[in-house]
């Protein structure tokens, strides 16, 4: 028995030896071995360094009384004065609340619309019809907000197509393009026209990865269309839904800029002032300067990071993959 115990099975020893050898490889050996792969990552690293990490390092000016025309080292550190100034500003809170309002509206009403559109598209059998429909829905994503707002004015404006059509039937002009009370609905219409197609494409890609034999098996077992969607389709795209949801929550303070800035005069600043327009009017073309805008940007970034981490943690607790695989 003792002899048997001392002679360990060769199969168990060999892998352990190999693992040990791998661990002892020096950095130089690794570089010699992996240099083609590392070389290929260099452009991406350079791009990240130049366009992300270098600009990000300038967030330091959020803690300085930074003036463009002063040598950098002459700008005094002022701690978190700019953040206090930001929170003290009477127009900051309304802008934050508006941002949250539009972001949640987008999340509640646009996010599901993209899923519904994708499901509808997925159910279209004719490839030609699907391609035409997909193009029509997807195309507005490439339009600028200037074009989107202009088209809406031409169609839904008080002197637009619909208003003049209504007048012809003895009706009243629409004032949806200048009515603050209906702006959330208007914004949703604009998102739906411009962005729903983009969301749909991502979900369509997820739908394409579902094994068709699952549907066939379910159909053979007698599952109707709704049960197949409920038990195969939605579970199949659930990881993508959760991933996009987490990313969306992380960007909850980023509702965009142009849509609100372009309609500011029409709707009024109280309704259309979001964080990005607030920064634009107070910092970029306003009198507060770059440190103030940077502080606002950093505030958004920190809140976004915290929300992503929290949402990802919740996703993991619910058994989902989240934005990365939990080891």
């Amino acid at each position: 028995m003792a002899a048997l115990q001392t002679s360990a099975p060769p199969a168990a020893e060999k892998p352990a030896k190999r693992t040990s050898l791998r661990r002892r490889r020096s950095i130089g050996q690794r570089l010699r071995h992996d240099w083609p792969l590392l070389l290929m990552t260099l452009p991406a690293l350079a791009q990240l360094a130049v366009f992300f990490y270098w600009p990000s390092s300038w967030n330091i000016i959020a803690f300085m009384d930074y003036k463009t025309y002063r040598p950098f080292w002459e700008n005094q550190f002022v701690g978190v004065d700019w953040f206090l100034r930001l929170f003290d500003n009477p127009y900051f809170l309304p802008a934050l609340l508006n941002t949250l309002k539009y972001s949640f509206a987008n999340l509640l009403f646009l996010f599901p619309l993209s899923i519904v559109l994708a499901l509808l598209m997925h159910s279209v059998v004719s490839t030609k019809l699907r391609s035409v429909f997909q193009s029509i829905v997807y195309l507005p994503y490439f339009f600028s907000w200037v074009l989107v707002v202009t088209v809406f004015v031409q169609v839904l404006g008080s002197d637009g197509l619909v208003s003049n059509w209504l007048l012809g039937f003895g009706g009243e002009r629409l004032d949806i393009m200048s009515d603050p009370s209906t702006f959330t609905f208007l914004a949703w219409l604009q998102w739906a026209w411009k962005d729903a197609g983009w969301g749909m494409i991502i979900f369509l890609a997820a739908l394409a990865s579902i094994n068709p034999s699952l549907y066939e098996a379910a159909a053979v077992d007698g599952a109707n269309r709704w049960r197949r969607m409920w038990h195969i389709t939605l579970p199949g795209i659930r990881p993508v839904i959760v991933l996009l949801l987490i990313l969306h929550i992380g960007g909850i303070l980023n509702v965009g800029f142009e849509q609100y800035q372009l309609q500011r005069d029409a709707i009024g600043y109280q309704t259309t002032e979001v964080l990005d327009t607030f920064v634009y009017y107070r910092s970029v073309i306003g009198t507060e300067g770059p440190s103030f805008g940077t502080a606002a940007g950093l505030f958004k970034g920190v809140i976004g990071l915290v929300l992503v981490l929290v949402a990802n943690n919740v996703a993991h607790r619910l058994g989902e993959q989240g934005i990365y695989q939990k080891s």
């Binding site: 009384d65 463009t68 002459e74 550190f77 002022v78 701690g79 003290d88 005069d265 073309i285």
Partner: protein
Amino acid sequence: MATPSDRSPIRRRSLFKVAGLGAAGAAGLPILAACGDIESGDGAAQATEGFDFLPTYKEYELPVQPDLVGEPPNHPSGFTTYPEPAPAITTAAEGKGEYEITVAMWGSPPAGDDPYFATLQEAWGGTKINLRQADGNTFADTSVQWLAANEFGDGINIFAWMLYAHPNFQETVVNTFYDLTDIIKGDISERWPLLAGEPTNSWGQSVWSTDPEDPETARVFGIPSNFSGGPGNGVFVRTDLLEDAGLAMPTTVEEVLEVARAWSDDANGKWAFLNLDYVSPEWFGLASGDGWAYIDGKLVHNCERPEYTEWLEFRRTCWDEKLVHPDTPTGTLDGHVLHVDGTILMSQDGMSWWSDYSNQVKTGTAEGAIEPIGAIGFNGRKPIRFVNFSVDGWTFLSKDLTEDQVKEILDVANFCSAPYGTTEYELLNYGVEGTHFEYGDDGIPVFTEAGTGTVQAPVNLKTFSGQVEVFLTGDPDFVQRKFEYNASVKDFAEVNIWEGMRVEGPADYKSAAQTLLDQQADIAFGRAELSTIPDMVATFLENGGEAAREHYTAAYDKLHGDK
């Protein structure tokens, strides 16, 4: 207004500052001061006259005298004939440099390889000026960022009215642009006779100080554009539509309202107005510019005056009674198109719209005629008419240029300052005969299609430098009409209480003024009630208006002597 640092007690900041210092330390950055208060723009008051370092004025003898003699600046003289042009510069300068100048452009920019530019280059001595033409509608706002990033080429042409967009132009000027003082002071008539012939007042308005409180730091930073004088904007009425409707040109604000009510027909897509924001304040006697008037021994802002409420009541009435185009608030409408097609009766615009419209009628792209409303008042009060108080703008040169390069560009500026009746003026303003213009039967240049696209553009090298004297020129009938109009309103020209000084308000005041503008729009377009005006005014005064009064009062006292 006190800065937040002043308002914020130290105890509130001290804890958080640790975080800031920690971040700085982690970044390995130098900490020169333990912590400093945030500096807000305190505003500036810059004298624009009384300097001894400006170019010595030497009258440039005009090659021909105007036949309509006015009373400049608000009533400029004019020409109803086209004289045989004579050269203004006898010996052309020699230049080999190539420079890029950023200018505003409304419409489609002409191609840089158009013969217009090549001919000009040859005429002024070989220096190549490439225009970087940017959208005029957004130029004011975007120029702030170009200047901050030092990305405007070798120079930039900025209109005076665009300065409102710059949060601290005083600081920008002295840190970004070339100090011309040592080059242009004294007698410059030998090399640049036309620049020497520009009004001293124009050069004075091109002065900024590195320290506005210290007169010794005042320097010349810009090449002044024209000092046009007279009204810069107006409300233009389609007189043909007025006549068709049996209505007369309004002579009071009350008549404007009557005409608007009689003409507007919302159901059929006809409205009297498109917008009324920047010209109509004069109808109620409000002040132009920053909106300060000296009344009963103190400076009063427009929003504090009863006329302000009357003005907003008027605008709100026009909106409620559907006399204003309902899509005006969207800001997406092309006012020129709506005016030409008769959708709107009255359009507020720059005075150049008058001549543009007349030219369109001549070329068959528009019908009828437009005329600006004269000086009108409300409720029997004496009218006022807003007029230009300053030069139209400046060309600023980059501080990175060398002295020789600046002198070479000044050679070009000298060429561009040639007045009406010179070959330089003709080339600059009409282009090349046969390509860009032909002489009409009356001898006056008429643009060809190529000329309309390239030379007639509202802005290009024509604004590079001011002419020694500005005249009314062009179509004789139009010149006559404009001359008479200026004569009719000159006695109502608003008095400039800041003559001899350029005052820039503090940063907080500018911020509060922007909010006030937003709130004005809310009332004018029915989003807020007139009853909110007192709250608006109180907010404005609390957030910077009251502090600004002190700033402006100090400047006023300095200018006029303590009262």
